[in-house]
Symmetry: C2
Subunit: 174 residues, 2 copies
Amino acid sequence: MNIKILRYGHRLIRDKRITTHCSLVARTFGADEIIIYGDEDEKLKENIEDVEDKWGGSFKLSFGKNWRKDCKKLAKEGYKIVHLTMYGLPVDEAAKEIRKHKKIAVFIGSQKVPPEVYSLADYNVAVANQPHSEVSSLAILLDRIFQGKELKKSFKGGKISLAPSAEGKNILRN
Amino acid sequence: MNIKILRYGHRLIRDKRITTHCSLVARTFGADEIIIYGDEDEKLKENIEDVEDKWGGSFKLSFGKNWRKDCKKLAKEGYKIVHLTMYGLPVDEAAKEIRKHKKIAVFIGSQKVPPEVYSLADYNVAVANQPHSEVSSLAILLDRIFQGKELKKSFKGGKISLAPSAEGKNILRN
């Protein structure tokens, strides 16, 4: 399975931390890549590359120029577009279908998304029909796609990893 | 079950949006209350009260003065302290025990937390032993405690609610 996250409408100062958290969730919860639309943000890219360097894995972050063109291109390549929105269908139902596909592109907003995203998407999916966060929505969607197995994923090539600990920190140097 | 979230180390500008997202996740995923330690932030409180007013429910947000005292007080009242940290034990195992308790206080950091939190906690719990976000960690912990039922929770007394929709927005005025 290949999962790309499309992050719409990133603004340099306002969205810095939320987009960072979205990227880290994408990486840790089993997505392969995040493509960010909006302001280019070299510091954000460096931060995620530093995480990757230290903790391992092969997650990619890049900046896209045109989300419309990219969505159409991805659809042609066989990707199913999943739009996370509180207006959508319940994630537990939707994930049963979504996880059958091999290529998934998950669209998440930061600013309000243009109405055409709702029709362009193959699935409009809600993690509860209540306001919360794209960070938590993305985590729950990926959790439902991978059915909890993502939490046991191992990351190769990092400098450190952790062993679970009941109290304190158990850091392993690889 | 009563669940309180203790948010440690809130800083006015830097943490504004992440603490807002934590509060919204707490509310939507079935916690009863969030207590914030650090800078008092009236705007944040207003924002969450506005959400409550519009979307319903009885979630509370307040600012605490002394997290140490409050943790000790909560422990005396029978609350089990759950500290979310990437160094902890796997959430799926831990949640089986945690959900047996009737009173739970979940401690989440924004800044680095003091080492004593690890020993003060009844459970140090990790949502994957990799870096991501307190927003996603809190969502997954609450999801595991409520075993997915939190996503179907209804909120009473709001002005609007949503009906799930395959495309577009289906807003109900109550």
